[in-house]
Assembly symmetry: C2
Homo-oligomer: 478 residues x 2
């Protein structure tokens, strides 16, 4: 029996948000499941989004002097174990290679869950003098963390990411690097992905294994849950000491460099889906959309329509717009639904009447607005619309974040707000783990971060009544 | 005790070619060894070369409609075993993951040695109709093959590569794809890496495990040994049948698509080193050089020199030249040696006298030629020199290839030439494995390929005396 192309149909997000999310991942052809449990395939359309993210972010990293390298994917167990907190954090999630070339290995090797250990080992071999500092390295690769439950882009046994690793002569420089890269992520989320973020510092409970401080950008999804967008860590000289990374300082003494690492992953695609998507499918920010514009000819059989469509394609392409012309024999209605599912930011409709009037219709994906546009000066008009789209998407996401951020003055109040409305709930906090655990147990929320922009809501911690040290954002997180 | 930066010093290639090669890899800071035996680290300078290669080649792939994807890195043993020839070819070299998340896995997973199996498995899930064909996929990733002896870039347990995988409606289209990608590699070698190649087809003994036909580009190194540059394979419908990949054809019957795969690796960096390098270090083709030009100020302390050097830097950068200004306090002599080691194609010297005369000196790395150049119109002059460099490097490599390709009419003659001169030796061949093995055993040479441009040297196979079927290139290969 002949296989047939499945009809596209997705669950409404109000009915089942999780299913809606998975439906988009599949129907927009971003991912497909693989034969290995918990692993996914990034399909061409999904990978093209990731490629655009990589290109833009890599350019930003290079502007500030970072260079790319490639480290081995396998880490000897003994090397991984040199820093106790790190190995305790990651060893339970490691995949282990035990055999190679038909023989049992003398020592098992971990598929990298993160590469601090490899970078430190490398630096311990090559670093000699303060003159070589800072070393500002990054790598694009995949890592494995053996998660029990998985979800496309958000939690997958293998995921693709960049991991930046740097060493510096002084603590001040390393701290400045940590902050610079946090800001780099925040700018990327806001200016590229059209997603507003809350910048802050993680509590000790939530920080990266072995880090002295972890900074994060937190975003709010359409279901008002939190998503950790990217993180930036400061290690002090803890790893340098554990891995014996040293250099001759300006004063001719042996010193330990200060270290950072920072990472962002394909999870950003998940953030885009859950921040901007709707019941017709994906809605892509123009800067990472594989196609920014799709041209759909209407009454394509009429003389001159396809020629004009091709001419407009050439015009937009020459102007640097990522444009796709669908001149297939599918109906315009099918095409409309198809490219809505795929989240193409702007649809350009052109038919015989339009050509007669020297115009076309631009339809914005995110708000459905139709803009009748003169063919004369089309490229500029399209660029303008792409900016309108980006800003419109950002504003809508910001509204969601702002309207769903609440303050609470007691654990009970926090719990009630979370149950009734969800979102981010801010309270003061004494800094004790016990109160953090109480919020988790009683209100189901983890601490998202201590925002860099602090507010004074109360004098005391609303959980224990002790003196408050900081304001915390709480939420239910992916 | 303070560590000190090692003095650069490399072995002469005439003394010990293998050691000369390794010395360049280390001293030009392309690679460093890792704590895992047989694995290497691509350092920033080495990775930057690879990035340039990737960018150019990826652009070429996209021009012909290929798209990138990411497949899981781990392959279940049962999936790998579905196609017998492939598993026999690769299983002995696999690294196996046996434990994940603290538990023994039910089935062990191979770190991909190549991904035909994963692509076929994926296609068996998503392909429905001839309308979706061809599927022209590629991925950039690393693979593991557990080699016994390793050498930087040439043979390493982990290496970085691209693997293209495509399926087509007809055998003709798949064969055309195989040829197109072979030509793509040949063009890349010649136009980008300045390395001439011999295009040909592999014998059955040397072809890819499971392929119906393997095509190759073969290059000759400075020691007159052969290096397989890249390969392109045609599979017929063998894998489609093994993995049950089917589609509904134009006639509404279920059909198996025809498949290709093609790959090139970081080994290309090794080819560059051994084709162009000399006793002063690396010599890089301008199109992949991280820096195409290095500006070295002479008498930099004299007024105006550094300012002028910076001005020239800005001029060249604005013109799209990859340029580096070394304004450090090292001596010009040290800098000359340093950038010769790193293979920068053009050195630009600028001192007070030059400024007075409105000129600078361009020194070409590959032939040491000094070209006094007016500062007026510098960018164009530099671009011109980069073309001169590329062409000069190509011509020199072509001379090496041409002058060291010989014909032989008996096994004894072939053996004698190989012992005395090395290089490629061409003979006729009957097509039998026995004769191929005899050449290997008695003259130490493997068949490199049956060139697409055939010549008629004899009527019979010089090894067995039977009727000749094709002309073969023989050589000692890396």
């Amino acid at each position: 029996m002949a296989k047939e192309k499945k009809v596209q149909r997705i669950t409404d997000m109000e009915v089942d948000f999780a299913q809606w999310y998975t439906d988009i991942c599949r129907q927009a052809e971003l991912i497909e499941y693989a034969s290995v449990k918990g692993f996914t395939i990034l399909r061409p359309y999904g990978y093209a989004i990731w490629e655009n993210m990589q290109n833009i972010m890599d350019g930003e990293f290079k502007k500030t002097g970072h260079v790319n390298v490639a480290m081995p994917v396998l880490i000897p167990e003994s090397l991984l174990k040199k820093e106790g907190e790190l190995v305790n954090g990651f060893a339970p999630e490691c995949a282990w290679v035990t055999h190679g070339g038909g023989e049992k290995l003398e020592e098992r090797l971990a598929f990298r869950p993160t590469s601090e250990t490899m970078f430190c080992d490398h630096w311990s071999n090559i670093l000699t003098s303060y003159r070589e500092l800072p070393m500002l390295y990054n790598q694009w690769c995949s890592v494995i963390r053996w998660e029990k439950t998985t979800r496309p882009f958000l939690r997958s046994r293998e995921f693709w990411w960049q991991e930046g690793h740097t060493i510096h002569e002084t603590a001040e420089e390393a701290i400045a690097e940590t902050e610079q890269q946090l800001n780099c992520y925040a700018d990327f989320y806001e200016n590229v992905l059209a997603i507003p973020v809350v910048k802050g510092r993680k509590t000790d409970k939530e920080k990266f294994a072995g880090a002295e401080a972890t900074y994060t950008v937190e975003c709010m999804m359409k279901d008002r849950k939190a998503l950790q967008g990217a993180t930036s860590h400061y290690f002090g000289d803890k790893f340098s000491r554990a891995y014996d990374v040293t250099f001759t300082g300006r004063d001719n003494t042996q010193q330990y460099p200060f270290q950072t690492s920072w990472g962002s992953t394909t999870r950003m695609i998940g953030a885009v889906i859950m921040t901007h998507g709707d019941n017709n499918g994906l809605v892509l920010p123009p800067k990472v959309a594989p196609y920014q514009v799709v041209i759909v000819p209407v009454a394509a059989h009429k003389p001159g329509v396809l020629d004009k469509a091709r001419e407009l394609f050439d015009t937009l392409k020459a102007a640097g717009v990522r444009v796709h012309l669908d001149d297939s024999d599918q109906s315009p209605g099918w095409k409309f639904a198809q490219y809505e599912m795929k989240g193409v930011p702007v649809r350009l409709e052109i038919g015989p009447k339009d050509i007669e009037n020297g115009q076309c219709v631009l339809v914005r994906r995110h708000d459905g607005e139709k803009v009748v546009t003169a063919l004369d000066g089309l490229a500029e008009a399209v660029q303008e619309q792409l900016t309108v789209v980006h800003n419109g998407m950002y504003e809508r996401a910001l509204k969601n974040l702002t309207e769903n951020t609440f303050e609470a003055h007691s654990l009970e109040e926090a719990k009630k707000i979370q149950e009734e409305k969800g979102g981010f709930i801010k309270t003061m906090w004494c800094g004790d783990l016990e109160c953090e655990l109480a919020m988790k147990e009683q209100a189901g929320m983890s601490s998202r971060c201590m925002p860099l922009e602090q507010e004074h809501l109360d004098d005391v911690c609303p959980i224990c009544g002790k003196k408050a040290k900081a304001m915390v954002y709480w939420g239910v997180a992916y």
